[in-house]
């Protein structure tokens, strides 16, 4: 197919992805006066943001006035095991309150405090009640607010349009080739800048909370264009996914259940999280059930229950209990809120959990405990960006949201993703605006490059036979689930890497049946090209980091190593192969170090770094 005959649309900037980060970035671009386009794989309003349940973290201080950005920053760094990009964590903690407030001004209706302000709930790793929420459907509220606001901002929204590859002019961004799902026809977007907001790659695992869209498209496109990926070894397993029945395995159970008082029990009825309190958090965690109960009853001096430790800790604890033979019948743990809160409270604060268990598992969570286990949920790692502009090493290419790396370090706190989307969506929009305004020469899309992208996509349909893309995907998921799971060893990772390598030939030769018109088989085959890059990047980074930190656990290298804090792992394309290398971390600004290591008392009184 020739590049000259395909449909072409021109924009100053194209945002790829229409979840929270993408829409917020597009709004920023449009409000800056840029001709802005936005593409999304699904319909508008269906991105994974809609699935976010518990809340959005921002130190509004509405429920506990002792909270402020410094304590949010400190919690985020501690949760990320200090591997976060310091400046990103600073931007995030400082700007999150304004982004939440702005949503309210655009029509969002969060749950209220008695004084009529935005209410905030407790969550893992957050010192104070910090998560603005709407029951357990916060993501829906946020994406709908953004969606209804963005349709009046003059943004050209192209729905069910999937990106295939970026086009460069020299070293600069000049466009993107994609296709319309409905017709299978191709489209060339000629743009001065591109903002990737494509989410993670959870679909590389078998047990995941992610939907079909999360195949690492942005990671794959950026990588092939020469961008760097960072921190890819850190993949978050959310401790509480559904485990039964088998067909719902992996579906998310919000951390809000624990934030609102839910406890974890093993098959012996023991509240086992008391046995897994890491030394670093011992000072701030209740060590008796009595104290945890006082915290739930609102005693401000009581320390937080161990169920609210960070997700990496809780996920490993559940896995350890199961392996010790104390798991629930379907290989998880019991999550009990029925015995802790009245039925009315549960239905009010956790309505969609009530609904989800009732309809899908035939369990009434106001009467009986849920069965839960770890599920692949989130990528801390992603495309490497500048902490201020969100630009990658490719001029004109920006990234924000889950597909960008660095903000969360080795582990993300719950509630910090929704705020990340908005804070960095806006910053990426600002960065793109500045870039476009400073661009002097015109840029072109090379016909040869465009044609090559088209041929790669149509080859799949033009073969007479080949592998079934769905089965190849299942094979990839098995590899990642078994070899690059919640705990890892060099040996298993190496075997995984070899298996992935063998799978590459299959992915090159997948075959999709029939015409390109709304053909999920073909779409799946195209997604696999990005998913295999994502899976290989995680595996290679996981091999290189020989320590256990945050979400990355190596049983052959237990515990954090001091030198582990001195580097981040970068993945990039060299010739035709992938390389993983360690790069030294820069020394952080002293004022941020002081805040991160200050005592809570000092920060509550604002004595540090004021």
């Amino acid at each position: 197919m020739s590049a000259s005959v395909i449909q072409t649309i021109e924009h100053d900037v194209l945002v790829v992805g229409a979840g929270g980060a993408g829409i917020r970035a597009a709004i920023e671009c449009a409000q800056s006066g840029l001709n802005t386009g936005m593409i999304s794989k699904s319909l508008l309003g269906k991105a994974h943001t809609v699935m976010a349940e518990g809340g959005i973290a921002a130190s509004l201080g509405n429920v506990d006035s002792r909270d402020n950005w410094k304590i949010h920053f400190r919690d985020t760094m501690r949760g990320g095991k200090f591997l976060n990009q310091w400046r990103m964590a600073e931007h995030h903690a400082k700007q999150a309150p304004a982004r939440v407030q702005e949503l309210e001004e655009w029509g969002a209706v969060f749950d209220r405090t008695g004084e009529g302000l935005i209410s905030q709930r407790n969550f893992g790793g957050h010192r104070y009640p910090r998560l603005a929420h709407v029951g357990d459907r916060t993501g829906l509220e946020i994406i709908r607010t953004l969606q209804d606001f963005c349709v009046h901002q003059g943004i050209a929204t192209h729905m069910e349009c999937t990106g295939l590859d970026l086009v460069l002019d020299g070293n600069k961004i000049s466009g993107l080739v994609g296709y319309w799902r409905e017709t299978g026809r191709f489209i060339l977007f000629k743009t001065k800048a591109i903002i990737l907001a494509t989410g993670g790659g959870g679909k590389a695992w078998k047990v995941t909370s992610n939907s079909w869209e999360y195949t690492g498209d942005g990671l794959g496109m950026a990588y092939r264009a020469g961008a760097e990926l960072i921190d890819m070894e850190f993949t978050q397993f959310h401790p509480t996914g559904m485990v039964s029945p088998p067909s719902v395995r992996g579906i998310l159970v919000t951390e809000g259940v624990r934030g609102d008082g839910g406890i974890l029990l093993n098959s012996e009825g023991e509240r086992f999280m008391f046995n897994y309190i890491p030394e670093k958090f011992a000072n701030e965690t209740a060590d008796t059930e009595a104290e945890a109960q006082r915290w739930l009853d609102g005693d401000r001096e009581a320390r937080r229950p161990p169920e609210l430790l960070t997700r990496d800790v809780v996920a490993r604890a559940i896995k350890a209990e199961v392996e010790a033979g104390r798991g629930s019948p379907n290989g998880g743990a019991f999550l009990d809120i029925a015995s802790r809160r009245p039925a009315d409270f549960i239905k009010k604060k956790l309505p969609s959990m009530y609904h989800q268990f009732k309809e899908l598992a035939v369990i009434d969570i106001t009467k009986e405990p849920m069965e839960v286990g770890p599920t692949l949920h989130y990528f801390m790692g992603g495309i490497r960006v500048d902490s201020d502009s969100q630009q990658t090493n490719i001029p004109g290419l920006f990234a924000c949201g889950e597909c960008a790396g660095g903000m969360h370090g080795a582990n993300r706190l719950g509630g910090n993703s929704l705020s990340d989307l908005l804070v960095f969506g806006k910053l990426a929009g600002g960065g793109a605006n500045q870039y476009v305004n400073n661009l002097t020469n015109t840029i072109n899309c090379n016909d040869v490059d465009v044609s090559r992208i088209l041929t790669n996509a149509t080859d799949i349909l033009n073969r007479d036979e080949g592998k079934n893309p769905y089965l190849v995907h299942e094979e990839l998921q098995d590899i990642m689930q078994n070899n690059v799971g919640i705990v890892r060893t060099a040996e298993e990772l190496q075997i995984g890497l070899e298996k992935l390598d063998n799978l590459k030939a299959d992915i090159e030769n997948v075959y999709a049946h029939a015409s390109p018109q709304y053909n999920p088989g073909w779409n799946e085959a195209l997604d696999l090209k990005n998913l295999i890059i994502t899976a290989e990047a995680v595996t290679r980074a996981a091999i290189l980091r020989e320590e256990s930190r945050g979400a990355h656990t190596r049983i052959d290298f237990e515990g954090e190593r001091e030198e582990g804090l001195s580097y981040n792992i970068i993945i990039k394309k060299t010739d035709s192969s992938m390389t993983a290398e360690k790069i030294s971390r820069e020394d952080p600004p002293q004022e941020l170090v002081d805040i991160a290591h200050a005592s809570l008392k000092e920060l509550e009184g604002e004595q540090i770094g004021a």
């Binding site: 319909l43 302000l117 009046h152 067909s247 719902v248 769905y470």
Partner: protein
């Protein structure tokens, strides 16, 4: 155990039901069965889905004639020997197989006058009280599955899409009109452009709503009342009701 399914295959020009057989697993929902058909029998079977947990409203279709979310419809709800038939929503044009063109809905949404904020006194944080937002929080649970649009007689049987915006957007309008911080006036728009008078309150939309929103009673009827209060003099209205239009 195996189970048989009848799935509509085709495009905007033509189509027919085709039979597929799928091996069952415990707790399976209709969407799982469709995915197995894709893997084993028909790679190109077109279906929309995302969250698989009833939160995104993508997998709307008609299962044994009833508008439903495929991800929340358990196979165990049907008798073992019952043939399950799956087809696309009827109210919207077919693109392919189970996928319909729902773009009309996005066009309606765009016509709605946006939220307009009442500025807080002294530039403070806006204040709203829980008891005042609860009724619009019900409307804001909407996941935009458009099953209510699919089942609405005015849209489905009478094809009057140019006259009535449909239940989904009536409750979106209600969520704006009843928002404590909104100062826009949409009542004239609701009467003229969006056709609030077209709904004859059969409550079919409420029945199919997977979020159990009381669309008719809490959303549409109060809006109809606001239109009546604004545009029809109550004395004349009662007179006309009793003695017929003069």
């Amino acid at each position: 155990m195996e189970r048989n399914f009848k799935i509509w295959r085709g495009d905007s020009r033509q189509g027919e039901f085709k039979n597929y057989s799928v091996q069952l697993e415990q707790g399976m929902v209709v969407l799982d069965a469709i995915h197995r058909v894709q893997v084993e029998h028909a790679n190109d079977l077109a279906v929309r889905w995302n969250c698989k947990a009833g939160k995104c409203g993508s997998c709307s279709m008609e299962i044994n004639g009833k508008p439903k979310l495929a991800c929340m419809t358990r196979l165990s709800d049907y008798a073992d020997d019952e043939l399950i038939s799956i087809q696309p929503m009827k109210t919207f044009p077919i693109i392919k197989d189970l996928v319909t063109d729902v773009s009309w809905n996005y066009e309606q949404n765009k016509k709605i006058l946006p939220f307009k904020l009442r500025k807080a006194a002294n530039n403070g944080k806006p204040r709203m009280y829980q008891q005042d937002v609860e009724r619009i929080q019900e409307f804001r649970k909407c996941i935009e599955c458009y099953l209510c649009q699919d089942v609405c007689h005015v849209l489905r049987d009478q094809g009057q899409k140019e006259k009535f915006v449909g239940p989904r957007f009536m409750i979106r309008l209600a969520s704006l009109e009843m928002h404590p911080l909104d100062v826009e006036d949409r009542i004239p728009q609701i009467k003229a452009e969006f056709g609030s008078g077209m709904c004859n309150i059969t409550r079919c939309c409420t029945e199919v709503c997977p979020e159990h929103i009381q669309i008719t009673d809490n959303g549409i009827i109060p809006l109809k009342e606001r239109v009546v209060d604004r545009f029809y003099d109550p004395v004349m209205w009662i007179y006309n009701k009793l003695f017929g239009d003069s």
